[in-house]
Amino acid sequence: MGVSRWLNRVWSLVTTHYTSHVVDPEAEKEFLHLTHKAIKEVTADLERFHFNTMLASLMEFSNYLSKVKESGVVSGFLWGEAISYFLLLLAPSAPHLTEELWNRTGHPYSIHNQSWPEYDEELAKEEEITLASISEVEAKELALSQERVKAYIDDKKLTRVIYVPKRVVNIVVAS
C-alpha cells in the first residue's frame, strides 16, 4: 500500500467511531500483546534510524486495528488506549496529522509535548508460532507476505528463496 493511501486510512480509522460488540478476553489478550509489541518495535527501529521497518510495523499495527474495529472484540477503553499509543508512535514521523488526530480524539494539546509510550516486556513478548504441518510453498508465501519482510524486499528482485523444513526461510534479493 502506498504511504499516501495508508495515511488516509489512518485518518478514517481514528476519526470514525469504534463500537465494542462482544468483548472476547482471548482477543483482548492478543490486542494487548500486539499493542505493546508495536511500541517495542517502533521504539527500537527509531533508536537505530530504521525508518522503513518502523513504517512497516506501524502499517501492520494499523491493519490489525482496522480488523479489530470491524469485529469489535475489545473494550472501548482498550481501543482508545491503543489508538492514543498508535498516534504517539506516529507523531515524530507525521507531526501535523497526529496533532490533528490527537486533538480530535479529545486529548490535551500538544501531542509533541507528550511522553513516549512505555511497553510492558511481558506483554510484548512473542509467542512462538509452530508451523508444524506447513508445506514449503505455504511457508514461503507466508514469509513473503509479512509486512516486515516486504519492507526489506521492497521492489528489489527476488533471486532465491531457500526453505529449510521446520527451521528457516532465507530470502535473497538483488541489490
Binding site: 504511504v3 495515511l7 507525521a94 501535523h96 496533532e99 494539546y109 509533541h112 509535548n113 511522553s115
Partner: protein, 608 residues
C-alpha cells in the same frame, strides 16, 4: 460522515499554533538530559531541494522522538550565507550579493517552516551578517595570536573563469574548478594560511570517533601520511652555493638503485643547474608544464615527459654520480619537490627510464629471484642485492641500517611527511568576511585590535571579478590608520574561505544573540558535543575536517574544554548512507511541498 484528511489545511493550522506557542524553543535545563541534533546548515542558493530533505527529515523525526523520551532537544537551523556562488549569481543577475542572499534566505526559511520541523527559529544564525562574521574575524585573530595563521607566497590553484584561488579540496576530477568546471591552473600569490598540518597527527586519530569507516578513510587519505627518510644528495655545481638537495623517500632501502634524479619543473634550483647547452630544451619543457593540471601530471600510465638539465648529483651512500632531470610527475608541493628515481622499484620511475633510456638496477630481490631482469617495477619487500655491504639484508633490516647510516653521517634522517597542506583561507573575492589585518609601512603586519571588530564589508564595493580582490579598489575600505603607530596604513583586501564560517556555527547556536562573545562558554558546555549530525556526504572531508581542526585549536587556546566537536557518541548520518534503501519515487514531503503530509521523507513504501 467524518471530514476527509486534508494535509494542507492541517499543516498550516498547526504550524501557526506551534509557532505562536513557541513549543520548539528550548533553553538549558539541568534537570533533563540534553540532546543536540545538528543538521548541516544549507548554503543560500535559493531553493531547498530533495537533498536538503534527506539531511533534514531524519534529524527532525529523531529530534521529536528524543523530545518525547524526555530529552531537552536543541535542533537549530541557520544559513551558510557567504561564498562564491552568491557572488557569481549576483553578478549574472545584476543584484547585490547581500540582497540576493537575504532574499534567498527568506524563501528558504519559508520553505523550511513549511516542513513543520522542530527548529528553534530563535537561534537562527546567518553567517554573512556582521553580528556573526565579527566573531569569524575574532577567531582569525585568535588563530593569528596562537601562531596558527601565517602569510606566505605559494603556488595556488587558480580558476581563470571565477578569477579566484581555489583550495585543493575545491579542485575536483581531473583538475577542474568545483564551481564552474573550468580547468584549474597555478599562480603565485601572497596568502593567509592556517597551520592545519600542525594537527595532522591528531586529525588522523579517529580512535575515539565512532564514525562510518568510509568517512574515516576519506579523512585518512586526505592527511596522506608517509613514513620514510629524508636524504641529502651532494651537489657540486659551479655558481651554485647550495651543496645538497634533499629528497624524501619511503624506501631508503632502495638507495643503491638510484640511477637518476628528478626535480619538479618549478624547483628553485632548476635554472641554476641547467647547463647552457640544455637551456633551450629545459625552458620549453617548463612552459609546457605550466599548462598541465596537477591531476594530469600525476596520472598513472600517462606517457612520461621530461628534460635533462646537464648536471649531476652524488648519491651519498653509494658515492655514485647520477644525472638530474626535471619531470612534471614530480610535484613541487609534495615532499621536497625532488625525487631519487629508483626505476627497478617504482612504476613511474621505470616508465621514465624506459622512455629516456636510463639504466635500471635491481636492488631488492623478490623471493626466489634468480638474477633475471624484472619486467615490471617491483615495489614489494625482499632481499637487498647490488647494495654494497648491505647486500643480503632483508629490505626491513636494510631500511633500518640505511637510516642509521644516514643519521650517523649526517646525510639524512627518518621523517614523516603528509599530503595534507596548510589551509589556505584567503579568497580574492568580495562576498566573505574581510581578513582583519592591517599592513603598515612602519609596523608591518598588524592585526586589527579585537575592540575594532567587525571589519565591516563595505556595501558599495565593485565586486565584479578582475583577478584581484574587489576590496582593493574600494579606497574608503583600504585606507586606514595603523592601530600601533597611527600612521597611514592599508587593510588586507582578501576575504576568508567560507569554511571558516561553518567551522564554528554549531557553537554559535548555543548563544546566537550574544554580543559580547563568540559563544557563551557555559551554554557550550551544556549543549556540546553534538549528539546527532546529519548532512551531505560531500562534506565528509572538508567541513568535518576543518571543524575538527578548529575545535582542537580552540581547545589548545583553552576556549573550549573538548577536542572533538562531533564525538564518540555523535551519530553521523550522511546522506549517501541513506541512498541504498531509499526509493526516491516513494518519498513523502509535506502537503505544501506537494506531498502528503508525512515528514519522515525517508522510507520507501512497504508494499508498493
Amino acid at each position: 460522515m467524518a471530514q476527509k484528511y486534508n494535509p494542507r489545511e492541517i499543516e498550516n493550522k498547526w504550524q501557526q499554533r506551534w509557532a505562536a506557542d513557541h513549543i520548539y524553543e528550548v533553553g538549558e535545563d539541568s534537570n533533563r538530559p540534553k540532546f543536540y541534533a545538528l543538521t548541516m546548515f544549507p548554503y543560500t542558493s535559493g531553493d531547498l531541494h530533495i537533498g536538503h530533505w534527506y539531511a533534514m527529515a531524519p534529524s527532525d523525526v529523531y529530534a521529536r522522538f528524543k523530545r518525547m523520551r524526555g530529552y531537552n532537544v536543541l535542533h537549530p537551523m541557520g544559513f551558510d550565507a557567504f561564498g562564491l556562488p552568491a557572488e557569481n549569481a549576483a553578478i549574472s543577475h545584476g543584484i547585490h550579493p547581500y540582497d540576493w542572499t537575504m532574499r534567498n534566505i527568506e524563501n528558504m526559511r519559508r520553505q523550511l517552516k513549511s516542513m513543520g520541523a522542530t527548529y528553534d527559529w530563535n537561534r537562527e544564525v546567518i553567517t554573512c551578517l556582521p553580528g556573526y562574521y565579527k566573531w569569524t574575524q575574532w577567531f582569525f585573530l585568535k588563530f593569528y595570536h596562537a601562531g596558527l595563521a601565517y602569510r606566505a607566497k605559494a603556488p595556488v590553484n587558480w580558476c581563470p573563469r571565477c578569477q579566484t584561488v581555489l583550495a585543493n579540496e575545491q579542485v575536483v576530477g581531473e583538475g577542474f574548478c568545483e564551481r564552474c568546471s573550468t580547468p584549474v591552473t597555478k599562480r603565485e600569490l601572497e596568502q593567509w594560511f592556517f597551520r592545519i598540518t600542525k594537527y595532522a597527527e591528531e586529525l588522523l586519530d579517529h580512535s575515539r570517533l565512532d564514525w562510518p569507516e568510509r568517512i574515516k578513510i576519506m579523512q585518512k587519505n586526505w592527511v596522506g601520511k608517509s613514513e620514510g627518510a629524508e636524504i641529502s644528495f651532494w651537489l657540486e655545481h659551479e655558481g651554485v652555493e647550495q651543496k645538497e638537495i634533499r629528497v624524501f623517500t619511503t624506501r631508503p632501502d632502495t638507495i643503491f638503485g638510484v640511477t637518476f634524479f628528478i626535480l619538479a619543473p618549478e624547483h628553485p634550483l632548476v635554472s641554476k643547474l641547467t647547463t647552457p647547452e640544455h637551456k633551450a630544451e629545459v625552458d620549453e619543457y617548463i612552459v609546457w608544464c605550466r599548462r598541465q593540471t596537477e591531476y594530469e601530471r600525476v596520472a598513472l600510465g600517462r606517457e612520461k615527459t621530461g628534460a635533462f638539465l646537464g648536471s649531476y648529483v652524488v648519491n651519498p651512500v653509494s658515492g655514485e654520480s647520477v644525472p638530474i632531470w626535471i619531470a612534471d610527475y614530480v610535484l613541487p608541493t609534495y615532499g621536497t619537490g625532488a625525487v631519487m628515481a629508483v626505476p627497478a622499484h617504482d612504476e613511474r620511475d621505470l616508465e621514465f627510464a624506459k622512455k629516456f633510456k636510463l639504466p635500471v638496477r635491481t636492488v631488492i630481490a623478490p623471493h626466489g629471484w634468480t638474477g633475471e631482469e624484472l619486467t615490471e617495477a617491483y615495489a614489494g619487500t625482499g632481499t637487498m642485492v647490488n647494495s654494497g655491504k648491505f647486500s643480503g639484508l632483508s629490505s626491513e633490516q636494510g631500511y633500518e641500517a640505511i637510516c642509521a647510516l644516514l643519521e650517523e653521517k649526517g646525510w639524512g634522517k627518518q621523517k614523516v611527511i603528509y599530503r595534507l597542506r596548510d589551509w589556505l583561507i584567503s579568497r580574492q573575492r568580495y562576498w566573505g568576511a574581510p581578513i582583519p589585518i592591517i599592513y603598515c609601512d612602519k609596523c608591518g603586519i598588524v592585526p586589527v585590535p579585537e575592540e575594532d571588530l567587525p571589519v565591516m564589508l563595505p556595501p558599495n564595493a565593485e565586486f565584479k571579478p578582475t583577478g584581484e580582490s574587489p576590496l582593493k579598489y574600494c579606497q574608503s575600505f583600504v585606507n586606514t590608520t595603523c592601530p600601533k603607530c597611527s600612521g597611514p596604513a592599508q587593510r588586507e583586501t582578501d576575504t576568508m574561505d567560507t569554511f571558516m564560517c561553518s567551522s564554528w556555527y554549531f557553537l554559535r547556536y548555543t548563544s546566537p544573540k550574544t554580543r559580547s562573545t563568540s559563544f557563551n562558554a557555559s551554554k557550550v558546555k551544556y549543549w556540546l558535543p553534538v549528539d546527532l549530525y546529519t548532512g551531505g556526504a560531500e562534506h565528509a572531508v572538508m567541513h568535518l575536517f576543518y571543524a575538527r581542526f578548529f575545535i582542537k585549536a580552540l581547545k589548545d587556546m583553552r576556549l573550549v574544554d573538548f577536542d572533538e566537536p562531533f564525538t564518540p557518541l555523535t551519530n553521523m548520518w550522511l546522506s549517501w548512507e541513506l541512498m541504498p534503501f531509499v526509493d526516491i519515487s516513494c518519498l513523502l514531503v509535506p502537503g505544501s511541498w506537494g506531498g502528503n503530509g508525512m515528514i519522515g521523507a525517508l522510507w520507501a513504501s512497504a508494499a508498493g
